[in-house]
Symmetry: C2
């Protein structure tokens, strides 16, 4: 069937989608969510179809196409294209199989990941996969196959070095910018650490957002390799690289129900580490309020799984279950966190000691993994000697930035303080509310927005003492943040 293209000027956000007129669809016996092949000048693309209810949008003889189809086939409005019926992707049978509680083999998992990466599955179909893996939890072997498939259907960074260090902190607590301290320490100690980090999705800042206050974070993989070979380390945004791209698509359908299929969490993290040829991996699982992993039992179960998958991938892996009951560091939000990190690296008395303590502990664990004793002492020496700061500066410059003094980091010009209404001990900090207020104040888009905390758990508090300051760049956002901060118990003093 020959149809004329109608650009409907909207993006599906992934899947290739085309819209047919009711009559044209009936002529080929096609239904919503069936698939067609679209041919144009020797190019062929498969798209999932939707059927227009009125002929207003897609009249008979026209084929409405979403942006993804336009760009894949290089179409223009009114181009003639040839349409035919396409088979369903093979992976639908495999997804059904998993939903039926059966195990998937290598070929099947590979096909599913290939179809995800190439946008062959609709959101509904991908949801069935996520639901299937959530209810019929994948075995370690399946998770391993999923990890490998995610790596192979994406780009990889080949360093040909040993050891290659990596770390990952599972989310949920505000601050916790350990990467920006651990990478310069380990790189200064002579180890390779090609670190990719994420931007914020639901938090006030991801490591990539914070690093961006100091330098560029978006690079092609070739440039990332140059930076690592030159400075031993890097802190770049993983989203600009094409490492294990299936992962982001899976996450997009997990959000509505806040589902975290354990096998996908494992595969996602391990695939990203495997993609940059890491050999020694430290995983940090914080457990506390609003953390991704809800309790210690869950954390230890996850730790075991990480260790199993790590062994099967022939990685050295160490998993820490850490305290996630309060934010780590004082600043929350890109600029405030970046300032904390610079203070820490420059040994400024204003540096957050809780963050320093955690980073030193993590470094000591990494040193132990590569066979170095007294790692804690060594890491502290690297920090105190200023070598870690110099290494950070070298990385910042290699990534195209220049030296910035902590004082020159621009913090939001508008602020308000929250004081304690009573005297007592700080017994609870609501991680979720801290994040939420920082976001409402403008973080991470307004880099200077966020929260600065003066107190930590168990601190003694005087009546009227400052608990935290909220910073914003615009008045409207400050007011809104103020409302939320006043209505809710962010800090509980008792």
């Amino acid at each position: 069937m020959r149809l004329k293209v109608r650009d409907i000027d909207i993006s599906s956000g992934g899947p290739l989608v085309a819209v047919m007129n009711k009559e044209d669809a009936a002529a080929l016996d096609l239904h919503v969510m069936d698939r067609i092949k679209i041919r144009k000048n020797g190019r062929i693309e498969t798209a999932v179809i939707d059927i227009a209810q009125s002929s207003k949008i897609v009249p008979k003889g026209k084929l409405g196409v979403f942006e993804e189809v336009i760009s894949s086939l290089k179409l223009k409005n009114n181009d003639a294209v040839e349409i035919s019926i396409a088979r369903k992707p093979l992976s639908l049978d495999y997804i059904k199989k998993k939903l039926d509680g059966r195990k998937l083999d290598k070929k099947e998992i590979n096909q599913i990941v290939w179809d995800i990466v190439h946008n062959k599955l609709s959101a509904v179909e991908l949801t069935y996969f996520v639901a299937a893996c959530y209810t019929n939890v994948m075995s370690t072997d399946e998770t391993l196959l999923l990890t490998k498939a995610m790596v192979s259907h994406g780009d990889t960074l080949k360093l040909n070095k040993y050891p290659v260090i990596d770390k990952h902190s599972i989310g949920g607590i505000p601050g916790n910018r350990t990467t920006m301290v651990v990478v310069p320490i380990m790189a200064a100690a002579g180890y390779f650490m090609p670190k990719t980090s994420s931007r914020s999705i639901t938090s006030p800042a991801g490591t990539a957002d914070t690093m961006e206050v100091l330098t560029n974070v978006t690079f092609p993989i070739k440039k990332m390799k140059e930076i690592v070979l030159k400075t031993n380390g890097c802190i770049v945004w993983g989203g600009s690289l094409n490492l294990a791209p299936a992962d982001d698509k899976i996450i997009s359908v997990e959000r509505p129900l806040e589902i975290d299929a354990e096998s996908q969490l494992l595969a996602s993290i391990m695939a990203k580490k495997h993609s940059v040829s890491s050999t020694h991996i430290l995983i940090d699982i914080p457990v506390g309020n609003n953390t991704k992993v809800k309790n210690r039992a869950g954390a230890f179960r996850l730790k075991k799984e990480f260790e199993k998958i790590g062994r099967k991938l022939r990685k050295h892996i160490r998993v820490l279950v850490t305290n996630g009951k309060q934010p780590i560091g004082n600043g929350i939000g890109p600029a405030l966190e970046a300032r904390d990190v610079l203070w820490l690296l420059k040994r400024d008395p204003r540096r957050p000691l809780d963050l320093e303590k955690k980073c030193l502990f993590m470094c000591s664990q990494i040193f132990a993994m590569v066979g170095i004793k007294n790692g804690h002492k060594r890491a502290l020496e690297i920090l105190d000697s200023g070598k870690a700061y110099l290494k950070m500066l070298q990385i910042i410059k290699a990534q195209g930035g220049k030296e910035t003094a902590a004082e020159d980091i621009k913090i939001g010009g508008l602020s308000f303080d929250v004081l304690s209404a009573k005297k007592g001990k700080l017994v609870f900090i609501d991680n979720h509310l801290v994040s939420r207020i920082a976001r409402i104040a403008g973080a991470p888009i307004d880099k200077g927005a966020g929260i600065y905390l003066y107190k930590h758990l168990n601190d003694k508090i005087r009546r009227g003492e400052k608990l935290f300051t909220v910073y914003a760049e615009s008045k409207r956002e400050l007011e809104y943040a103020k409302d939320v901060a006043k209505q809710n118990k962010v800090f509980v003093v008792r």
Copy 2:
């Protein structure tokens, strides 16, 4: 936040969807699949949001809206609307609960069904519900609650009569137009039978499509009641009524994986019967090739479940497991099936005896349920006396049609015969291919298109003898049907 409406001229097919500009979404900390409240002149509607990747479609300050939102809020292009953050529907927590393998209670199932009926759930969210019920099969009590919730969130037909008869045949075999024979027989015997039927989704004809060859099938519920009170029976299209409307929405996300969650199949059928206040229900489960229920063990398990739910709804229920190895009747396609039915009711020698036999058996079962012995004989008397035909005529007229002779039913003007290439016994008929060829020939949209079968299983076949004729209304469709018929083994003679 105040935004101006931009009609993006496309329908989501159900869920209320709005598209925001990236910057506007960030200002409210909104992500894809989050929800907003849209206010306009005192009306409020909640919509799921998508975020425009470019500002081409939805510039800052605009709100792109799908057709469903336009019509619900009566919006026009450039109308100013007020936007705020909306909570997620409560039912998402309950869907997650079911996905986690826990049982749902009445309140929870009610909320889910309410949200489905009112288009509050996105396709992805609805998919999680279907997947949850598929993998964590609902208990009989949950299925009962789902059935009742489906009924209560829809319209109902109240007849205040006893008994009220209903029947349902589960799909998969071509032909099988038992409703159009059973309803006039039972109505002629003095019983109320307010029958709603479906149109074809993937078959060459649904009962509603076939009945439409003879009369109207689309009525509001009030008119349906009038027809039933006047003639004892009716055969109308269920889709035009608002009976258990959650069902169609659920089915839409089941198609891609061809999932049939048993609890939903049960709830769907029983809800539709309960909605028209049926008291005595006959269920027909054909088992054979390409039938919905794949084997006898599955059919008997389903039968048990039907009986349990039926008892709990205080219905008299009888479930038949029947032979689905071949089409029932000779004509496949709306006009050809309607002609079979008229021949049968008019006692024409050309009538399909297999369909007659099955209908008489079903009537005998219904008679037995209402305490009448010799039901088979009574049904045959009603048929032979012409009373069933007269009752059908009365129903046809009450539904706005007029008498049509079987000979005057318009069959497709183009046709080709398929002859047997060899001599032997007919050992296999491919139900799926029969349906597919009839559809490709134009059924059910071209009412006259379809297939007429001359042979049934175990018939002796001479070489060169006619096996079936394919009818079409257009040349192109006839040719395409010919290709498929020639390339594949529709009938196997051995």
